[in-house]
């Protein structure tokens, strides 16, 4: 296991992200963490801001790679309201790369109704976008380091690692 960002470095990115989010919201939005790493980040974020626990979202049924990778379940959707109507949503994920996971999440949210506004909080940006999706709040841009695969390991401590070769 190769460490790309140590626990201390992840902590720095997390407080960077927390500060941005704190400045942007006068009252808590509906925070939604994407399984699995995004849920850890959303939990940490809400805890630091004194906000209610985040909802969690499983987007595996909306992914566009069923044709190549099949069904990959990650975790359960929990804490979502029965319907979204004009809600301000803060979507949280650990690593942003192609943007396809966020695309899937947006589609899930619109199946719940009509969100009023959706912001995106990302801990690490790898670049490599294949869709016109950008974070509203960002912990750290990985720059050239983003070219290699990485994922957050957690929930305690949070460390950014290179997954074993797949």
């Amino acid at each position: 296991m190769t460490e790309i960002r140590s626990a201390a470095q992840v902590e720095k990115a997390l407080s960077q992200l927390t500060d941005q989010v704190r400045d942007a919201f006068s009252e808590p939005p509906l925070v939604i963490g994407l399984h699995t790493g995004g849920v850890w980040v959303a939990n940490a974020l809400c805890q630091r801001l004194g906000w209610p626990s985040p909802a969690t979202l499983d987007v595996s049924l909306y992914r566009d790679d069923f044709d190549t990778t099949g069904l990959k379940r990650s975790g359960a959707t929990e804490g979502m309201p029965a319907q979204l109507q004009g809600d301000h949503i803060l979507l949280v994920d650990d690593v942003l790369f192609t943007g396809r996971t966020v695309r899937a999440a947006l589609n899930v949210l619109f199946d719940y109704g009509r969100p009023g506004r959706i912001d995106l909080a990302i801990l690490f940006d790898r670049g490599g976008r294949e869709l016109p999706i950008q974070p509203s709040f960002l912990g750290e841009d990985l720059g050239a380091m983003g070219q290699s695969r990485c994922k957050l390991s957690g929930p305690e401590p949070l460390v950014l690692i290179a997954p074993r070769s797949e």
Partner: protein
């Protein structure tokens, strides 16, 4: 793994077809139940339509009539955004003399991805799974008196949800086990999950002789068999059996084995009562039990949709990797 059961798994142990619960490893059953539970929303209802199987074609091949089972497969496929074709084989090509094999080849040529098969002959889905092209998945929706694996799995899901791990439970199955593919699939599923105490209760004429081989204890007395059980599974008494010499009458059956509020007290006070439906009130189950607090019969129906969604998603997921 041996015999025809191995037909449903890939060499690395994933689900390719679902033909029987016999020989399914605990890890795979658990994965199926977990996946099915994830298809239930936090309100306990199956999730609204999701795009997972968009563009896939599910063909319901029903050689034996069953509106209820077919409807649940229909709903499951629609919830996953698959296209569904219902083929009532009895009224179609086979009636015109086409062989089953030729019918299959035609459906394959129409780019079907999944066959849901019900047949009055035990083994028919195996025959089909053996002969379809590799990218097609086959789900057994009931074959003769042999197996009804999605029913067995939805029963396991219901048991696990209400009573926890089957490895710690006593389960009694009451009624006509001899002609019941539902009972057979549940027994194999319970064995797979490590259930230590499975009991069969009924008259000797309705209990198959191989139950002891399956590790099932048999009882002719309802009072003895129900003692302390956590789960009571009632089976439908099929009217057509009544005409044979196996049973004197419906009334006689109810007098001896019908589940009443009084008799249910023989089981554990927190026991749940299950029934695969359709129920015959006053034959195998009394009104006050069917409508009582211990009955989870309608929950079984809801779980049935989630289980069928899970089986479709998992088999097609495996087939995808086989063909790519």
């Amino acid at each position: 793994m041996h015999g025809p059961a191995s037909l449903q798994l890939t060499p690395d142990g994933r689900l390719k077809h679902l033909l029987t619960t016999e020989g399914l490893p605990k890890s795979l059953i658990t994965e199926l139940l977990d996946t099915a539970e994830s298809f239930l929303s936090s309100q306990g209802q199956p999730v609204k339509k999701v795009p997972l199987l968009r563009g896939r074609t599910v063909v319901n091949l029903f050689f034996e009539n069953s509106t209820r089972t077919r409807t649940t497969f229909d709903i499951a496929a629609h919830r996953l955004s698959a296209d569904v074709v219902n083929l009532d084989i009895r009224t179609s090509s086979t009636a015109k003399g086409e062989t089953l094999f030729d019918t299959l080849k035609n459906l394959e040529a129409m780019q079907a991805d999944l066959f849901v098969v019900r047949h009055s002959a035990g083994g028919a889905p195996f025959f089909i799974a053996n002969r379809v092209t590799p990218h097609i998945a086959v789900i057994n929706a009931g074959d003769g008196t042999h197996a009804h694996p999605t029913q067995g799995l939805l029963d396991l899901m219901t048991i696990r949800k209400h009573k926890g791990d089957p490895a710690n439970l006593s389960v009694a199955i009451v009624g006509d086990l001899k002609h019941s593919r539902v009972a057979r699939s549940l027994i194999h599923g319970l064995k797979g999950m490590g259930c230590p105490d499975i009991r069969a209760i009924g008259p000797g004429t309705l209990l198959p002789s191989d139950l002891p081989h399956l590790g099932v204890q048999t009882f002719h007395s309802l009072a003895d068999g129900l003692a302390g059980v956590d789960v009571v599974v009632l089976l439908r008494l099929q009217k057509e059996r009544m005409s044979s010499a196996l049973l004197p009458s419906e009334r006689e059956f109810f007098n001896l084995y019908g589940m009443t509020e009084e008799r249910l007290k023989w089981a554990d006070p927190n026991a749940i009562v299950m029934h695969p439906g359709p129920i015959n009130r006053g034959v195998e189950i009394a009104n006050e039990v069917a409508d009582g607090p211990q009955a989870v019969i309608l929950d079984q129906v809801t779980n049935g949709i989630a289980i069928r969604m899970a089986v479709m998603a998992m088999t097609l997921s495996t087939q995808q990797e086989v063909s790519s």
